[in-house]
Symmetry: C4
Subunit: 258 residues, 4 copies
């Protein structure tokens, strides 16, 4: 296991990955809208494209930055590892989150450019109701339950497949079509297309997502019990291999790295 | 291999997993109904969301409880292992099944809440005909054939992918759209939406499912012959590793744990 | 590696697997026809259900019988291994092929029964044109190229995923929607539903399939060169492990067994 | 690891694989057009068939030729490895690229033949606008970023799944539906069907693809830093195994070979 990449490169990768994710989400929504009037078929295309794209991005970039692409995940990761590892500093959070948000906006602009839309046109799509907020709580809780639960189960290498699959389900089973990501939510405000969200609807979505992330960590604790002592979950390290000295990446971060 | 989790935690996980499964099934059905009038497109969305969600749940929770989420599977598991393992007691069955049923009802209520439906509104969707019952026999027989056959074939680690895929096929090739699960059937009676089933149609479905489970165990015996002596199928244990003393989880339960 | 199952059990498994495959193909076609008038959506459902179902059947049963479910594959397997292994006898072919055909007919009857159709009603769907026959040649050539090429490439363990994926593509890119299987073709003559084929169209399809199988073996030779000496491809056997004495299953058969 | 196949066989495999890929793309487009008038459903079928077919072709043929099927990838591969390996010669490029182009045209003719279309009928589908060219830049950049990034990340064995998934996303999120391949673009000019492109639109597409390939290599450098010394990435070689003498296949080529 080589040393983690420098923080600048990791943050750059978070920005690029989030940009690509948002371009997939928004671009496929525009394409689908142009090709069919059946909204069900539109969401089928939009969700399948996201499943394919997100899985690819996590598998490609997970080994560099952890492939969070999501401030809710970065914060949950910091919260979970804050006492057990020197690698989980607020300095990482302070680099990742702005990179994710900037990347998300860039991704929205890129998608609009590819389809000849105004590069920035704030969405007029109101998504403002208590049932949508409940949808976001559920969607983000499920996402965090999955990501951090896989780490606890020693199955973090399945994250690219399973996180992508989860989002494919959550597009459909949550009333909000599962934004589940503060950075992506902000980026989606910058396009007035299928996947957009009116700027006035953004803040409650962010609040619901953070609430959901906390609930997701609660579900992890209920299902997997108290975390083992540091390193105990890292079942993939062969016996006889010396653990590297600190700074190490925490269990959860490795998990995200798939 | 660590010791199995305490029964209380395993039963809780069965309840949470079944709740999530039912929320996926019902929620995606509601979303699809709101977005398209083409019933084929609705079932495409409903079935794909279930494939994605079920695979994730088995992979995430299989290591804790076995990820049955299904009384027919729990009963077949008890029946198969009743003479060969101390771990297969009726006490487990008595904890799992009520947790599964309660979870299923909770999942239905959650789905209704996310979409602004009445939290409990019994379904008016009659599913009462001999051909639907035959569909349920076939659907459940196939599911049990798969789960317990994989254990016999030493491929239980593929269960998350294959059980999810099976349900994706069975939604379409069985006339009943493959409930194949007594707990989920009961949960689906609590919502008057796309995936619902009228309470008066529930009992024959449960009977057909139990009949199908028995047929599925018969198919396993026909295809894989008499079971080997205890432990002989557990090909994943490396040579030289000491088997843990009793109580161990049986072959079948490990299989479900993927 | 344990000894192969007795021929009776292997042939039974071929029959059961082919029955299940045909029930999936025909059943999902009926369901799709009942739910939508858009023929594109029907074939999407029909093809995705077949992908899911076929992958599951190969993974579940491949270790017992090789999971041919297809006389063209059984014959190609016999032809390829006829000089190098005692296990490839015409006796196997004579047991597998009738079991596959009987299973296919039983699967058609089962699907009709689940959907309340007449149990046997010969199809009135003419599929009789030279371009459809070319489609069948291409479809079967591709299937045989894949199955026997994977064995040569040492990737036979990927057969459940890849054979299912191939059929998912071939439903769409061949004009005949890729029957590619003489037993399944015969079975599909017994139902007058979406997936049916008029009995008068069957024989040319069978001829095209056999021609395609031969072409597929030619493609394997072009792409992978002359076969290595016996056993040389069996890269999965760890060094130092003694090969079992004859009768062994040939490379190709092991390949199919995934 | 055996020696690489002779160049003639490798080039033949590139031609056959590209032919099959183009037959899948064009054939599924024709089938979809015949079955539905909903263009969204057509592109769903077209993209899913391509995902299934491309994944199969890479897994089947990657071990022989590297499974480029794409002059942009072959050129990027030559460019990346030109200083570190004797295996990356222009002679390889000069054999691969014509084989890919000839294969692509043959695949178009085969698809037309299967569906009873004129064997060669140049497309009348204009795809000539700056936003489509931006789409092609993005599509090819993403493809090259993925393929060469996976090699750098030591995950080249996932290429069949991930490259296919990427194309499934790119069909939808790029405005050009992601040709991303000069040979396939030329082949698609030979058919006047759903997937066709007017000959007058071809050249700018090729230019955009080459630009995108260069951008993709830039993304690899940004995300993964300077390449390690020769061989350092080849993490799959067990310790103690002697590396074969030159000529070896470069890291990137092995990556493509999955």
């Amino acid at each position: 296991m080589s040393a983690p990449a420098p923080l600048l490169r990791r943050a750059t990768v978070e920005g690029l990955g989030t940009a690509a994710l948002v371009a997939v989400v928004i671009g496929s929504g525009i394409q689908a809208t142009e090709l069919t009037r059946d909204v069900g078929t539109r969401l089928l295309a939009n969700s399948l494209a996201t499943v394919f794209g997100l899985g690819v991005l996590i598998a490609l970039l997970g080994g560099v930055s952890g492939a969070h692409f999501n401030p809710a995940v970065t914060l949950a990761d910091w919260f979970t590892g804050r006492r057990t590892s020197e690698a989980h500093t607020l300095r990482d959070v302070a680099a990742y989150v702005p990179a994710q948000v900037a990347g998300a906006i860039a991704g929205a602009v890129l998608a609009d450019a590819m389809f000849g839309k105004p590069l920035v046109h704030f969405s007029t799509h109101d998504r403002f109701s208590s049932q949508l907020w409940l949808g976001e709580v559920v969607a983000t809780a499920g996402l965090v339950w999955l990501i951090f639960g896989l780490a606890r189960a020693g199955r973090a290498h399945l994250a690219p497949l399973l996180v992508a699959s989860y989002i494919g389900a959550a597009y459909w089973f949550t009333s909000s079509t599962s934004f589940a990501n503060p950075a992506v939510t902000i980026g989606r405000a910058f396009t007035d297309t299928f996947a957009g969200i009116a700027p006035t609807s953004v803040l409650p979505f962010l609040a619901a997502q953070l609430l959901g992330a906390a609930a997701g960590l609660g579900l992890v604790a209920v299902c997997f019990g108290r975390p083992a002592a540091a390193g105990e979950d890292e079942v993939t390290v062969p016996h006889g291999v010396q653990q590297p000295a600190a700074p190490v990446r925490s269990t959860e971060e490795s998990a995200l790295a798939s």
